[in-house]
């Protein structure tokens, strides 16, 4: 547990895995439920928790004591997702321009990459990077690749991507360094919706490969 400036405490945990993520999520909920004057917000990430506070209202020492007590008692959030959201994906082609290279580098066929990517339910570990961008994991080990050496300046909205043991969905046109393997029409973020994101941490996500018949009709090539 370390200060991040005079008004924030950062709790970083290892290992970076699902259990740690479940603990961080539960801890964030408990910190929020404390409703302690001076605590501004608790922000859970994959394996860390950031608590913003007003140091003129609450001392760091006191907040540390409160968090330490919570850490000792906390039960991880449930492993089983409260709900599973299905995401339809068009893999490969123009929608997933990196699929051939990903398959080649992993020593798999494109169909095998798709089969692996759709083979399990992922956990939403966190939302970050941009409004509504979900970090999903863990990825099957056979799909593990580092980020692209040269990030793209613009990735199309809806792109489904993998990198560094994670998979994610670009909610908007954004710069990005992950490998693009497909694309979805799902609207990941809408500021006027409550909650504004299609999925929240702790949810499950299942990718389904969409039939690829439509592409020819759109005249993409």
């Amino acid at each position: 547990m370390q200060p991040l400036g005079e008004g924030a405490l950062l709790l970083e945990c290892t290992p970076v895995d699902t259990l740690t993520n479940r603990l961080m999520l539960a801890l964030a909920d408990q910190v929020t439920a404390l409703d302690l004057p001076g605590i501004e917000v608790a922000l859970p990430a994959w394996s860390s928790l950031l608590v913003l506070f007003d140091p003129l209202c609450l001392t760091r020492t006191r907040l540390e004591a409160v968090l330490t007590a919570l850490v000792r008692e906390v039960e991880p959030a449930p492993a089983r997702p409260a709900r599973v959201v299905d995401i339809q994906v068009r893999y490969g082609g123009e929608d997933g321009p990196d699929l051939p290279e990903v398959a080649a580098r992993l020593g798999l066929s494109e169909a095998e990459v798709i089969a692996l990517h759709t083979s399990q339910i992922y956990r939403v570990m966190m939302i970050g990077f941009a409004p509504g961008f979900p970090y999903l994991g863990p990825l099957p080990a056979a799909l593990d690749l580092p980020r692209r050496s040269t990030p793209r300046t613009a990735v199309p909205a809806g792109s489904v991507a993998i990198a560094a043991g994670m998979t994610g969905i670009y909610p908007d046109r954004l710069p990005g360094g992950w490998h693009l393997i497909g694309r979805t029409e799902a609207q990941m973020f809408d500021p006027l919706r409550d909650p504004p994101t299609l999925v929240v941490p702790g949810d499950g996500v299942r990718f389904n490969a969409e039939a690829q018949g439509r592409r020819g009709a759109e005249g993409g090539e």
Binding site: G7, I127, A130
Partner: protein, 331 residues
């Protein structure tokens, strides 16, 4: 009840947006805190016109900007010491003025050595929908503020409510002694960050001695700084963690990045330090090419900086008779 149209935008300038104190509640959805870059200046502008601190005003990046006043309005322009006029007379900055319908408020875009952002508050506040807990504009997300975009010629700035008792406050100046230490080459105080293991043993001292400048890669999300390369002792890849404005991240090339109001709420680069919250108001007044200093301080000093900030925000405001005449004159 709506207060009707307050201003018409004649010239929108480079980057004029509706901002308030930002949104903390949507960080967990990946939405930046946002809000005014110079929170003090917006706070002061609001207080000068009798608004609550969370009311929205206009953030104006230094450039040629012109407004036409549409109803009798209490206004205050704070922030950068730019040249501004009210009809044909100079517009007093950091002062409440009473403007009349037809008056022109004109910002020339000329800066005097420093300054980047001005804040215009109107009594009654700026009326735009609250999105995710704030009226602030999130430009890249295209939401908040006026339709998620910058203000441009022809836009109407609507008032949220009819101001009460407008005459009472005209002529109030914000005392110069109760403002942050604005100026050229500001000294931004920072406390050490949590990832010192990633940096050389003398990295903080080296950063403190560096002649730093804001590079061309600078916007509301953050400033890439140039003039110094931080020594990274080993490749440091971190799982994405929560970050906040003020964080100084060090990407693999060693060029520090100071996160500002629209910074994404998570990041994966090691953090060498965190600029104390009040000094971000000084940073908000920097443009590409401007110099700055980073000064390491302890936690106690950073908290003291917050105490100063709170004290200045609560400073008593007294009408000044000479200024009052000026503030009612309107050229």
């Amino acid at each position: 009840m709506s207060g009707g149209p307050g201003l018409r935008v004649v010239t929108g300038g480079l980057l004029t947006t509706v901002q308030d104190q930002g949104r903390l509640g949507a960080l967990r959805y990946g939405v930046p805190r946002g809000g005014a870059m110079d929170r003090f200046a917006l706070f002061a502008a609001n207080r000068l016109v009798g608004n609550a601190p969370d009311e929205a005003g206009l953030e104006i990046l230094v450039s040629e900007v012109c407004f036409e006043v549409l109803q009798p309005s209490l206004l205050a322009l704070t922030g950068a010491p730019i040249e501004a006029s009210w009809n044909d007379a100079p517009l007093p900055l950091w002062t409440t003025i009473l403007a009349r319908p037809g008056d022109q408020i004109y910002l020339t875009g000329k800066r005097h050595g420093w300054g980047a952002r001005s804040y215009l508050a109107l009594a009654g506040g700026v009326e735009v929908p609250v999105v995710l807990g704030s009226r602030g504009t999130h430009l890249s997300g295209r939401f908040g503020g006026l339709a998620g975009r910058v203000l441009r010629s022809g836009d109407l700035v609507m008032l949220r409510q009819q101001p009460s008792d407008p005459l009472r406050r005209a002529g109030q100046p914000w005392p110069p002694a109760a403002r942050p230490a604005y100026g050229a080459r500001p000294r931004l105080r920072f406390t050490a960050g949590p990832h010192q293991r990633c940096f050389g043993a003398t990295s903080i001292e080296a950063l403190a001695q560096a002649e730093l400048r804001v590079s061309d890669h600078a916007n509301r999300m953050g400033y890439r700084l140039e003039g110094h390369t931080v020594e990274l002792t080993r490749p440091c890849s971190l799982p994405s963690l929560g970050v906040l404005p003020g964080v100084i991240q060090v990407p693999p090339d060693g060029k520090p990045v100071l996160l500002m109001a629209d910074a994404q709420p998570t990041g994966g680069y090691p953090i060498i330090g965190v600029v104390c919250a009040p000094d971000l108001d000084l940073a908000a007044q920097l443009l590409p090419g401007d110099s700055l200093q980073l000064q390491p301080i302890g936690e106690e000093e950073a908290i003291e900086a917050r105490r100063d900030d709170a004290r200045w925000k609560a400073t008593p405001l007294e009408p000044d008779d000479t200024i009052a005449q000026l503030a009612l004159a309107g050229g």
